[in-house]
Amino acid sequence: MTKSNSVLLALIVVLVFLIFFAPQIAWQARSYLTSVAIPSTSSGNNAEAVALENVALKAELAKLENIKSQLPEKPYNYIRAIVLSRYPMNFQKEFLVDAGSIDGVTEKHAVVFQGALVGRVSKVFDTTALVETVFDPNFETSVRIGAYATDALFKGGLTPELKLIPLEAKVKQGDVDFAASPDFPYGLPIAAVKEVRVSDDKLFEEAMLEFSYDINSIKSVLIATAR
């Protein structure tokens, strides 16, 4: 074996170690990569450097304010958690949060952002947990819609929909659908109805939904500790 191959083998061993025992290093690097918006400068002009530092500090402050604004008053029976990383492909819509079993997080519990249900805990580790969002194709839950509490099925995906709405139901645009599954606290709002149409088989109605948040901009969430 040549010397260069030995070095590469050593690096491979290091990478394997990092993948299994220190993945948080990559999450931190990703977080840094996506938060870097201010280009660095090597200018020798002091005034310009100070002005740029000021801009950089303001950006940092804005970033922290943004995170702070997303931290609602913590209700009873909820744990606050920060989003660490997101699944990097289109097959699932999930993210990792910095609260795990030692914090009291358990599987299938509701994950809430600004009062709305955004997903459920799908897997729990010691200090982290995976959250399957309502935009994941596998996410399904029973819901009720509007003032008449019409039963329906919430089906996740890139454009989540409400299915199996009875034809005689009085569902209209603007009605809010809310969780009615035993897995979640009853009445957690999910989204508002955007458009109602009859299903292809003409047996039910379906509804397109409108969300009041951007799932990609969520930096912190609340996790329910009781159903």
Binding site: K3, L8, A29, L33, T34, S85, M89, I215
Partner: protein
């Protein structure tokens, strides 16, 4: 010093360094676009397929693991990342088999790899949101082809 190292250490060959840079660019593009738009394009996979045409087995193993490390989003095993790490080795074995230009083979393998990923991990997208697959695959093919041409020039 770098020139000296390059002369005496195959590990630091220009192609290998370029391959690492291409992988970093691909992974960064994938992560930044995904974080901002919620739409993930498999640039890292395309980069791995492209560099598989030029590297040796051990160099490719290093890059495949580096890609897994950069893309890993959870402290658990992931079949998707196993696929990302394994595909370049298949390309390494098959890269001389196809009868046409190698850059066409690169594009073909990128498209085939992404199609296989969707077929295995989210076949429903072919029916419900075919445009997601098409944008992902075509963007990755373009990136992979550019990466291939870059590797060839170096």
């Amino acid at each position: 010093m770098i020139v000296f190292a390059q002369r005496h250490c195959k590990m630091l060959s220009k192609k290998f360094i370029t391959a690492i840079l291409i992988l970093f660019i691909g992974a960064a593009a994938q992560l930044i676009l995904g974080e901002f738009f919620g739409f993930w394009i498999n640039f890292a996979l395309a980069a791995l397929v492209a560099v598989a045409f030029f590297l040796e087995l051990i160099q490719l193993a290093f890059l495949a693991l580096l890609a897994v490390f950069l893309l890993n989003s959870r402290p658990a095993f992931s079949y998707e990342l196993l696929f990302v790490a394994a595909l370049p080795f298949l390309v390494l074995k098959l890269r001389e088999l196809l009868p046409w230009h190698r850059w066409l083979s690169c594009g073909f393998f990128v498209f085939l790899g992404i199609a296989a990923m969707y077929a295995i991990f989210a076949p429903g997208i072919f029916v419900s949101d075919i445009q997601i697959f098409l944008i992902d695959a075509l963007s990755a093919v373009i990136f992979g082809t550019v990466a291939f041409k870059t590797m060839k020039i170096i």
